[in-house]
């Protein structure tokens, strides 16, 4: 198994195969979470692979490996948000400022996601893009399922206001 070869033999070629198999999905996931900042996304992916390479011995199945890698990326993004003193999941709903509302017509979904506060963005991405349940999100983000639901609801509301401002009645 590739992971074993990397872990036991420090096999560079095996690592490159693993890297090419998983990185496109990891990079897209990270890029979306950090709001489209390619520099941050690359740093997150690099740190994720370093963490993974340090702990590869514990993994045996490819599917679990992919899920594990995504978990590492998620945690690194959360750490990035905290280091940057950005708004994170602990924010109260009424304290979140909406993203700038100009140029709505030009915003597509990807761009609108990028403008969400990181807390909302993370929950929306995990739920609506990645397909996690609220219980899974709660476990990964160390929040309650109810918080996850409220963050999702609020995040969607902000998204709609960005994408179709005329359709949002407030």
């Amino acid at each position: 198994m590739l992971a074993d070869r990397v872990w036991r033999e420090r096999d560079e070629e095996a690592f490159r195969v693993l890297y090419r198999r998983h990185t496109p999905a990891l990079y897209q996931f990270a890029l979306r979470l950090v709001g489209g900042n390619t520099f941050d996304a690359e740093d997150v992916v690099q740190q994720a692979w370093i963490h993974a390479a340090e702990g590869l011995g514990a993994f045996r199945w490819e599917s679990a490996f992919s899920t594990w890698l995504h978990g590492i990326v998620l945690n690194l993004c959360r750490a990035l948000f905290r280091r940057a003193d950005r708004r994170w999941i602990e924010l109260k709903e009424d304290s979140v400022a909406l993203a700038p509302r100009q140029n709505h017509d030009q915003l597509d979904l990807e761009a609108a996601l990028a403008t969400l506060p990181p807390g909302y963005r993370t929950v929306v991405i995990l739920h609506d893009v990645e397909g996690f349940t609220h219980e899974q999100i709660a476990a990964r983000l160390e929040i309650s399922a109810n918080t996850s639901k409220s963050q999702l609801s609020r995040g969607r509301q902000v998204l709609r206001s960005l994408l179709r401002p005329e359709a949002v009645s407030r």
Partner: protein
């Protein structure tokens, strides 16, 4: 992983989320960067064989880098007297498509040579430090020259302009700024 809260979103919204790409290629540079980072931490074994084999390879690699540098200087000065279009047409003697292919091949050769040179930095042999520095300077000179040509080729490209501004600001600055030493290379 199954959503348990789909009812609040419309079919259109679900379709929009489903259409978002799940993968994106970050490019080959990140792969090389990560491999180097893992190698430096001892998480990947060096891929160049035992140290006694790598020693001659170091000399070959440095010599190759210097040769590439010298060739680049000569070709660059020659090309510098012509416009981009004329230069590429003369260099390739055929079509723009072939010129573009030549750029791709040269780029691959450049990155490969630089990666080979980078691998030798891990040996930490101070006797080769000047050669490694020369190779690094050659790489930076080539990069700077390439960005200049890219800006001529696409003067409205904001990315190319930003890179040129960043590189040239560091390139022309003396040792008092950013720790970049004064360059000895006169390029194009």
């Amino acid at each position: 992983m199954h959503n348990d809260d789909r009812s609040e979103s419309s079919e259109l919204e679900r379709a929009a989320f489903a259409a978002l790409p799940r993968e994106r290629d970050p490019g080959p540079a990140l792969e090389e960067r990560i491999v180097r980072a893992l190698s430096k931490r001892g998480l990947l074994a060096p891929g160049n064989g035992p140290r006694w084999i790598r020693r001659p390879l170091l000399a070959i690699g440095v010599a190759a880098s210097v040769a590439v540098f010298a060739l680049g200087v000569a070709v660059g000065q020659w090309l510098g007297t012509r416009t981009v279009t004329e230069s590429m047409a003369v260099a390739q003697e055929r079509t723009a498509m072939q010129a573009a292919a030549a750029v791709q091949r040269a780029g691959s050769a450049y990155v490969t040579a630089l990666a080979a040179l980078t691998a030798f930095t891990e040996l930490g042999d101070s006797a080769d430090a000047s050669s490694l520095a020369q190779g690094r300077e050659a790489a930076l000179a080539a990069l700077t020259a390439a960005v200049r040509e890219l800006v001529v080729l696409a003067p409205d490209d904001p990315l190319a302009l930003s890179i040129q501004e960043l590189i040239e600001r560091r390139w022309v600055s003396g040792p008092e700024t950013d720790g970049i030493e004064v360059r000895n290379v006169v390029w194009f």
